[in-house]
Symmetry: C2
DNA sequence: ACCTGAACACCGTTCAAGT
DNA sequence: ACCTGAACACCGTTCAAGT
């Protein structure tokens, strides 16, 4: 029985913030219009004065988070501006794990979602890569980064976790010798893994330039 | 008013197949226990004799698709076995777009999900890469592949689609000159983009080996 | 302008009952 | 063993009404 807060007025901003904190705390599934309304001690329908509907609410929350990403000021070589950009993207995504699927599914996001694209295109063009390849590189970096975050935030996707599977006997050492041997080795370091992937991609791109 | 089919008996396999074809046809959101039951002319509760619940159903469907992936027989250099493996993964995912999120979210999947891991680890170990880096490379390739497919199957994530945004005036050419210029250039070729990304990753990995 | 109340058309799932 | 029927506790959303 969650205590209803008394609020002077309902505002769109207040709704979005409360929705975000509910998602951060309990996951996106735990957010419903009715529960959100209850947090403000208000009828579900009261929300619809401020919020088009649930889709609109979710998109707006995703947009808030996207706008919150602090990309580092540019400068330096192309490698470090590209790296800094996706490190920033990753960092805020990790701070709001429940929002990542919402970003992936949003029909419309604020224009700031194109900051990474802009940075990558500018950096790679200056480095001498063709435009089409630059866009593909941006796509590559985005799917990689968001993918890494998605898997990390739901615990290295439980279904695909080899260590988990090994512990539960689902990973047969005869059929999958390498996987079975590598899996339980050590705790998985997502930061190091991301750094590795990023650096592999960047040196792969460097090969297309030099 | 969908016509109910008469079936001699309800089987788990029949349920899974029908569920998969509903997901393929109308997306995962269109699948509900009640609608699935209706397809068989049966009460919703009849399904529970064969199917733990909705989570179980969804995991089982994801598992079916995972088991269906036909990885090429190994042989040749490490680049082509790794490439072939993720091309196969991508191909079946594209054939069942609605299932991709289910695979990402499944708590448990058949052991065959570890085939790509096994292939990558074996190939990269033979090529001389360290075990830890090999696992990271596998993670990199997986997130990249699934990410590319996810974005493709929902139409290059509508919210992140620069061409869409440009068409709707959401992409300011002053603030995002490179993005605005690159966006509407041509139709996006997902196959070529995937091939590009894969090749960048592979040459990045080659740099760690040679 | 802003919120309420009742209602509608859905969900997944439990539980007891039929055959 | 397999399916039904009624019920429960939820959803998002509409529509008319209150203040």
């Amino acid at each position: 029985m969650a205590k209803a807060r008394k609020r002077p007025t309902l505002t769109r901003e207040g709704l979005l913030n409360e929705a975000l904190s509910m998602i951060d705390r309990d996951g996106a599934d735990a957010l419903s219009m009715r529960r959100l309304a209850a947090r403000f001690g208000v009828t579900p329908m009261a929300l619809y004065r401020h919020v088009g509907g649930k889709r609109d609410l979710l998109h707006a929350v995703a947009g808030m988070v996207v706008d919150r990403i602090a990309y580092p000021i540019e400068g330096g070589d192309w490698r470090s501006s590209v790296a800094g950009c996706f490190q920033a993207l990753r960092a805020t995504c990790l701070r709001h794990p429940g929002v990542v699927p919402l970003i992936e599914q949003a029909d419309a996001l604020p224009a700031s979602i194109f900051r990474p694209m802009e940075i990558v295109l500018a950096a790679l063009r200056d480095a001498g890569l063709g435009e089409q390849d630059a866009v593909r590189a941006y796509f590559l970096l985005t799917t990689f980064t968001i993918g890494q975050v998605s898997y990390q935030t739901r615990g290295w996707a439980t279904g695909v976790d080899a260590a988990e599977a090994a512990r539960h006997g689902r990973l047969d050492a005869d059929a999958f010798p390498n996987a079975a041997r590598a899996a339980p080795r050590q705790e998985w370091d997502f930061d190091a893994s991301f750094a590795f992937g990023l650096s592999v991609i960047l040196s792969g791109l460097a090969g297309r330039i030099g």
